[in-house]
């Protein structure tokens, strides 16, 4: 019973991949832009989903890695003329180091404390970078690589990140770590009996998410050209990711993909409404969550039993 949707899904994913991979050949420049944004958001939201949807780490501080990765890329390539792709990777590496340092503090917290802790950390980074002469305070940096890549190359970098994020989440979930995390999701008691192991798994996911988020941010800011601390470290990033993942379906692997598609198209469409575009986005978010509390893919799974490799907790406690 599980088999058929399985095959179907790979077919869909394969088609999607081929479509995206050949996009520069057949699509217009505008579609390339949409594809780029879609891949970047899919990668970032896949990581938030890995943390919040699977590892029980509610993070409101993804912008810490976005800003850190972006700045690392900008500094290494603009100040030291390092190859742009290496600079992007460097952003991932420094994000992992940042995540390790953060974990010293925030891994002692749980639940909402963890969430606020991550946010505060991002806030500290924003204040630090905006007060740091080396990165020109809050003025922001222009990304001036020695070899500026073309739009198509940036697109393929984004696609690489999107696919890498998806594959990483998939592999983690199929591994022993993933099984442990899933068991923890389904049964609180398990987590206490497997204390240390769960801690390691969570930390592992946190570091992986930092790497991919930081690297993706590098690609993002190569596209953006200009990075500035007040927005690079802004909570807005995580708000977007929350929107994408919850609308798409948290704790499902397809959710972030569907959510990113909706988010990118919606924000393109809404930007025509100028000053009320954000207002409309807020209203749409609330309406969707009221109609489909488990997100689009979550609700679809529930209604059709369309269940793949991401079992959500299906039973809820009944009183009495």
């Amino acid at each position: 019973m599980i088999r058929e949707p399985f095959k179907y899904r790979w077919l869909v994913l394969g088609a999607l991949f081929i479509l995206l991979a050949t996009l520069p050949v057949w699509g217009s420049d505008y579609m390339l832009l949409l594809g780029l944004l879609f891949c970047l958001y899919a990668a970032l939201s896949q990581m938030w989903n890995l943390l919040t949807g699977y590892s029980g780490l509610l993070s409101l501080g993804q912008q810490a890695f976005i800003g850190f990765g972006g700045y690392t890329m900008a500094v290494t390539t603009s100040y030291y003329n390092i190859n742009i792709w290496l600079s992007i990777l460097a952003g991932g590496v420094t994000s992992v180091l940042l995540a390790l340092f953060m974990s010293l503090f925030i891994f002692r917290m749980s639940g909402i404390f963890f969430a606020i802790g991550t946010w505060i950390f991002a806030e500290i980074l924003m204040l630090w970078f905006s007060n740091w002469e080396y990165v020109k305070y809050g003025t922001g940096l222009f990304v001036k690589p020695p070899n500026p890549p073309s739009m198509t190359m940036i697109y393929y970098a984004a696609l690489t990140m999107g696919v890498a994020a998806l594959a990483t989440v998939y592999l983690i979930l199929r591994s022993k770590i993933g099984l442990g995390l899933m068991a923890m999701r389904d049964n609180e008691a398990v987590s206490s009996s497997m204390g240390v192991e769960i801690f390691r798994s969570k930390l592992f996911c946190f570091l992986v998410a930092a790497f991919i988020t930081g690297t993706t941010a590098g690609v993002l800011y190569v596209f953006q050209i200009f990075i500035q601390p007040y927005k690079a470290f802004a909570i807005d990033w995580t708000v977007s990711l929350v929107f994408i993942v919850i609308i798409g379906g948290i704790g499902t692997i397809e959710g972030p993909i569907v959510g990113s598609l909706i988010f990118v198209l919606l924000s393109q469409y809404l930007s025509e409404y100028g000053h009320i575009s954000l207002l409309l986005l807020g209203i749409i978010a609330i309406i969707i969550i009221l109609v489909a509390p488990k997100g689009i893919m979550g609700t679809l799974q529930e209604k059709t039993g369309f269940e793949l490799l991401s079992p959500r907790r299906l039973f809820s406690e009944e009183p009495g």
Binding site: S110, I112, W128
Partner: protein, 287 residues
């Protein structure tokens, strides 16, 4: 030593204000495990309401509370009853998205209605100071602190001694059992949010008089509230008070020693250190 007195005293006074700002957030977390990310924006909404009343009716900002408080109670009640209650459940994330949504909607509504200009509520006491030797005590800070203490005092009284307050606490302990006692918990949560919004209304008016605000200021105060309650422990009123003072002291003394550029940064750094030592906050209970 004398140079230190000024930031120390200012810190205590400012801490009282920080505590009121955080109060609504911390009580709501204690009651429904809800982190109301729109808290700052709702507070700024009250600042604007008060400003509108002060401007159009020419009344004193403190008098404007007579109107702002009931309005904000209704806003909070409706928000909880018709929106947040519907997404409360085992998962923490849907209420989070709703709160973010409310935050975005409020900011942009305020922008449409009140224009993007920075505003401040001006009163006769806005620039008055009491001078004690070399120390300046801004009257407004003093008022913030006193009102902050009063709000905390009465809120504690309400939660500990009134029927409704006990019912709210009971519902926060065990929703199912509270229903068995005859408590309509969805109403009770809505009332609790209404009360949280009363404190936000008072905080909003005080902030409006003390600092400046514009439609996008909300998150700035949300972060301050987070700082306060994370130091003091989520859900604890006494913690909020102490947390407010610690955060403000850390900021002001930090600025005193390292320069004003690091004022906010040091505040948060102190917070992280406290958390690393005591992950539940100073007054938080492990559950």
């Amino acid at each position: 030593m004398e140079a230190l007195m000024q930031p120390v005293i200012n810190g205590i006074l400012l801490g009282g204000l920080y505590a009121v700002i955080a109060l609504g957030l911390t009580t709501m977390f204690g009651i429904v495990k809800l982190v109301n990310l729109a808290h700052g924006d709702l507070m700024i909404l009250s600042s604007y309401l008060s400003l509108a009343l002060v401007t159009y009716l020419g009344i004193n900002p403190f008098v404007s509370l007579i109107f702002v408080v009931p309005i904000m109670f209704v806003v909070g009640f409706a928000l909880q009853k018709y929106l947040l209650n519907r997404v409360l459940g085992k998962e923490m994330e849907p209420p989070l998205l709703v709160a973010f949504g409310v935050s975005i909607i409020l900011q942009n509504l305020l922008l449409l209605v009140f224009t993007p200009d920075a505003k401040g509520i001006m009163t006769v006491i806005s620039v008055k100071t009491i001078q004690l030797g070399n120390i300046h005590l801004p009257v407004l800070y003093l008022a913030d602190f006193v009102i902050g203490c009063l709000v905390i005092f009465f809120l504690r009284l309400f939660y500990n001694k009134s029927f409704l307050g006990r019912a709210i606490r009971a519902a926060s302990d065990d929703v199912g059992a509270a229903r068995l006692m005859g408590i309509d918990t969805s109403n009770i949560f809505a009332i609790a949010m209404g009360i949280a919004m009363i404190t936000a209304a008072i905080a909003g008016v005080l902030v409006g008089m003390t600092f400046t605000f514009y439609p996008h200021t909300g998150p700035q105060y949300l972060i301050i509230s987070f700082g306060v309650i994370i130091i003091g422990g989520l859900g604890s009123m006494r913690g909020a008070f102490v947390g407010g003072i610690i955060l403000a002291e850390a900021q002001l003394l930090g600025a005193h020693f390292t320069g004003p550029g690091y004022q906010l940064l040091i505040g948060y750094a102190v917070l992280l250190i406290i958390l690393a030592i005591r992950p539940q906050g100073l007054f938080g209970q492990a559950h």
